[in-house]
Symmetry: C3
Subunit: 265 residues, 3 copies
């Protein structure tokens, strides 16, 4: 208890935004991208910043490349810190392409993962097969995050396409829907070729969906700032680099110059 | 003692510049930006590179987001390694904006911080209030670093503005004055929109001040190189990323290709 | 044994490329650039990713800046993980420039390094002196990696120059030849000013050399992808950042979206 910030600092310094949700929360989630963190660094990060992490995605195929003992320990550590760990959508797509989805789900279950991501950023998947995969994952007992958008450079889901996928995914049982931003967030989905957010696109999407179900992939700082300004300090932000977790939390609370003026007033 | 480089390597290999100051030093300081390092990584960095670090700044609001036990341990570790730890200027500005400066100073004192940063990169602060804050910090027993410059993109303090602030700050008791470079060092202060150093600006400033009191924020490698070339291997460099500490020390000594020719002759 | 991926995952998920070489290997090597990793982080990385690392280069002058006890422990850890650790070529060039090559080799020998890099990216070295250095290193008992190319911006070795150096180096006893890419891989060697690979140049080189002896410096992701596409999943890749090791291995195996289509079929 001694370690809580409120025992040390004036409360006004902790959250100038006055609106930041604390864990456990269903909105204002931060999803971190783990591209290959060692076990000690992983534990170190959770002990520093566990209160500000809701999800950790094991990026691309890193889950399969991680030594089993390290992977199992990461899963245990995340449960201890109330963080949801899950393998990235590309790994699901490989399982589909390699024709071993059943074995994929079974292994994840044995490893005691609780969440999976269903996506078709790289493979072609019919609407029907996508929904089937979501339902199958739920039957296995997983909670499902889906992703909308292709990973090809320059590809943008139109608003009607995105909304249609959103509705079908939610109906099939998906809890969160990620809007694709890729790791570097450039020339893809809601970003132009300089990585700038297309505000109009974001606002048009927000009008039609439950904003708390959308996770915006915002790997870069200016993207985080733009989404926070558009959506508010409790926007769900995804693909946050491991070293940027406290920076993102600072942005959410108005504790960094860039968002200071949104909330310090 | 066995661990000192001089016991292992030919002395000529350790410092081709032949001028690099060793700790404790009042010039040639390296100020590192901690954006959210776990405790184990923090200790690991000090054990690797403590001899090359003079200051560590807890960036933006990270001090308040760091679990109390971790923060206290970071403070202790820095004292052991003769490194000066202090919270970033934005945190001071939040305390001013939230009208709780007294409580801010008191908490820092209780935590046994020895240095504070006084800045107005984001808030408006009159010359008078700035000086008052410096003097107040000194009365609390802190040593003071100030920062000159606004964080707004494209903003540059003119030379007379910078010199005037410098003189007033020094008179009020500031020990070092940081020239703003922000974390990414682009389109701000002494940098143009490609992050290039404005050499004329730097040289004009240097003519009028005590160069040992100026800390240049140089987050990017080419900025570090340009300032080292203009000011010499014992320039004070700030906002150095945690992973670049040995790179910066290599640049200072002529141990990296980019500065090899300045000093290997 | 429990920790091997094959005990956990369906084999089809581990290597969609079906061609990835396992350690020990003489091709498909990954050479990682250590710019200053603490000892705990270094061990953590080896325990996570040792199976995917063949060489670790202590970048520029970091070897001399690393506390002796840390350096000795890094050397021991690398032997335990069948990883070849060696100091970067710039350090060799400093020894030449400082006129203490003999003492340089002797210290490396005492420290039990097994590999050295011979280069002239920054200094001028005649063909004769270069070959002499290679032979001298071999007499000391080292295995030799050489590097072709200058570190000056815009400098490109012509194909005949590169081939001529390659042949002389191999004849003198070099085992691998690195094609210079610098840390950021821009405007240098095989890269244009946007860091794009010059494919024609690469293919022309490959026609004339033993491709297994070439290490391509590919610090950036799109460079890794382009070389893997041109050379295959067992290209030798160098200057990989510490945090990108699992990403690179994912690219090699078709476990990341960008190379998925090369191998998932």
């Amino acid at each position: 208890m001694e370690s809580t910030s409120t025992m040390i600092w004036n409360r006004k310094l902790i959250d100038p935004s006055k609106e930041r949700m604390e864990k456990p929360r269903t909105r204002g989630c931060t999803m971190v991208m783990d591209k290959g963190t060692g076990l000690i660094a992983f534990r170190d990060t959770l002990e520093l910043a566990g209160a500000y992490i809701d999800f950790i995605k094991l990026g691309f195929g890193t889950a399969v490349l991680t030594p089993g003992a390290v992977l199992r320990e990461k899963i245990i550590l995340c449960k201890q810190h109330q963080v949801n760990l899950y393998p990235g959508g590309t790994f699901f797509e490989i399982a589909v392409a390699q024709n071993c989805l059943h074995s994929y789900f079974r292994t994840l279950k044995e490893l005691q993962f609780e969440w999976v991501e269903i996506s078709d950023g790289t493979i072609d998947l019919s609407r029907q097969d996508r929904e089937k995969a979501i339902r199958e994952a739920i039957e296995w007992g997983f909670r499902v995050i889906t992703e909308v958008g292709k990973k090809t450079a320059g590809s943008v889901a139109t608003i009607p396409e995105l909304l249609s996928t959103y509705e079908h995914d939610v109906k099939a049982g998906a809890i969160y829907i990620i809007v694709e931003g890729r790791e570097n967030g450039q020339n893809i989905g809601i970003y132009d070729d300089r990585g700038e957010v297309n505000s109009r696109y974001v606002m048009d999407v927000l009008k039609e969906v439950d904003p708390d179900r959308i996770i915006w992939e915002t790997p870069q700082k200016h993207q985080q700032i733009q989404i926070l300004q558009l959506v508010g300090c409790n926007a769900n932000l995804g693909n946050i680099p491991v070293h940027e977790i406290l920076s993102v939390e600072s942005l959410r609370r108005g504790l960094r110059s860039d968002t200071f003026c949104f909330w310090n007033r």
